[in-house]
Amino acid sequence: MSSSPEHHEPSFIRKYVFSLDHKTIGLQYMFTSLTFLLFGFGLMLLMRWQLAFPGKPIPIIGGLFGDTFAPGGIMLPEFYNQLGAMHGTIMVFLGVVPLGVGFYGNYFLPLQIGAGDMAFPRLNMMSYWIYFMGGVLMLSSFLMPGGAAQSGWTSYPPLSVIAPPGQTMWLISMTFIITSSLFGSINFIVTTVNMRAPGLNWMRLPVFVWAQFITAILLLFAFPVLQAGAILQLLDRVAGTSFYLPAGLVVSGTLLNRAGGGSALLYQHLFWFLAHPEVYVLILPAMGIVAEILATNTRKPLFGYKTIVRSIMFLGVLSFVVWAHHMFLSGMKTSLARIFMVTTMVISIPSVAILSCYVFSLWGASIRFRVPMLFALAFLPLFGIGGLTGLPLGFLPTDIYLHDTYYVIGHFHYVVVTGSLIALMGGIYHWFPKIFGRSMNEFWGKVHFWGTVVCMNGIFFPMFIQGLAGMQRRLYDPTVQAHNATTQILSPFQLLAAVSLLVFQFPFIINLFVSLFKGQKTVENPWEATTLEWACPSPPPHGNFLSLPQVNRGPYEYSVPGMKKDWSAQNE
């Protein structure tokens, strides 16, 4: 397992394609997931066009989809449902999680704990390529007869069981993604437990490492359950079983020839048992990144490090016992709903605790408003909105009205997009100098920041209004129903915000690639940060550290009284 001391230049394929180096694998994850994010964003633009101008031909690219998806450029309802399902799946499983866990975890977890690589480099490489294959399969499902999966990203049976073959493809590619996460999480846990540098005990770990560690545990325990759910659904589709099908189903006039006896709710339980911890998989890495950026740019220790760590652990455990709050109105036993309302309310406490610790960290600080800090600061109130708007959904009486409306969509987009994604973008600005040894342009970074934040709010805030007006999710053409027509005026505005959001990503993409080759060269530790990743050269060489770092202090020792400089690195 130890790296051989002799230095011979590996071939191109070994170095960049089938690399075993955690940094290369991390970058592969980054570029792949950013591509998927952009693709998923494109799907969303198409949907927003249909919502803003129902039944009007899609401009410019409308002709490309052919008669099976959009005859004459006018989107078919089937195509709209495919876009919806694939947007959700791609953004969650192929975009945000691989970016937050695959890229950040792979690249910075070993660096922050002072390790030379992951515990199992080969497993790490396999994890990436399995994820990649899963992603390719997922995209190619658009070419299946009848198109891609179209039963929502949740794929509730019986609808998903009677859906066209794209759904089978979805299930197979989910199996790939699950396997990839499993390999990844085993790797992360073993690395964190076993490969910490001497002196780096658990309470000296940066919050980022804690967040990644708990995330890996969530993935480890939650994903196999969806695996089981997906296998059962696959068998329902291809082997004629009826795990999720009750007897006597009549689909478009014909009696389904199945033995029956299954339960449609069983799948929902198995799915949400994964998918609620999945929410924390989306948000925890982001919280970790925000902690790092905040500490560096406030030039002071984080407020309540121990409270934050304990809250993260508490969140991890609790996230396994709240899943049924997605099912309050699914026909589930009403008494079960009572229990899950209580656990759901309880889980908001650690989130509030983490967020307040972050805000209190600003007190007495010397804030440097640099681009990564702007993103981290935007995370705080926007994630706050996302979290607080979740309360009415976890609260039974209000959930009856708000469940499955646009209010839900607004809520989780505030959490995942203006929460997670904003932090993940900030992290790229923060660590770019470490990854490439060059820095990104500050001015274009600020343009990207302001444009992104304003446009995101422009898309998602109106969703709360639409949801309160009773507009249901996943409607191909909401104007058909009278109560939804009242808020239709907001939709063109949301489309405009969405298109502007796309425009504001170009400064980022161009900035990223130009800085990659032409950016100003930086020193090892440009932000004067304390954690271990800044103690190795930028970009880190193979094997990362020139000598094994010895850790002497906690992660955020900034502005220690009596010191000449305002930071004391962990390995000093």
């Binding site: 390790a115 030379g116 437990v193 480890l220 089981a228 068998l235 007897a247 033995a259 006896g261």
Partner: protein, 188 residues
Amino acid sequence: MEHNSTGIPHGKLGMWIFLSSEIMLFGAFISAYIVLRMGSPNFGVPPEAIMGRPLATINTFVLITSSVTMVLALAAIQRDNTKQFAMFMVLTSLLGMTFLGIKGYEYHHKISEGLTISSGLFGSFYFTLTGLHALHMIGGLIFNAYVLINGLRGKFNSRHYERVEYAGLYWHFVDLVWVILFPVFYLI
């Protein structure tokens, strides 16, 4: 550079973590089985003659024996007895294959009696879970073959036997799953 904070070998820790995730996988399947068996209006439990309790009991013995030969193989390599190690590994794999053979015969018998994967919920669960278990067995056999070949090449001795141990952990886990599946499908 190589440094280990806890002293547990990476491989052993990784294997246990993997096994705990496997517990979740089988746990989810078995919970689905339990609730549908309790709650479904037509679960379709077949008569005992189709299930064939005696044959399954023999199969259980076969698997338990393979587990003990596996652990004896590990004990042998820990005493540097490569010959005995190889013998026990071969025995383990043969017993594993016997198990799969009997399973194949059982499948054949059940399908010819009309109990198939689509004939009812019981059949669906039976074939899904035992099929998944059989796939794990095949994975274990491959792992065992890899360990056996490396052992014959002299890669293992009383100080380096980690991979034998990992193969053993996996093999015992597969045995352990069967210990639960056996009463679930054949006895109750």
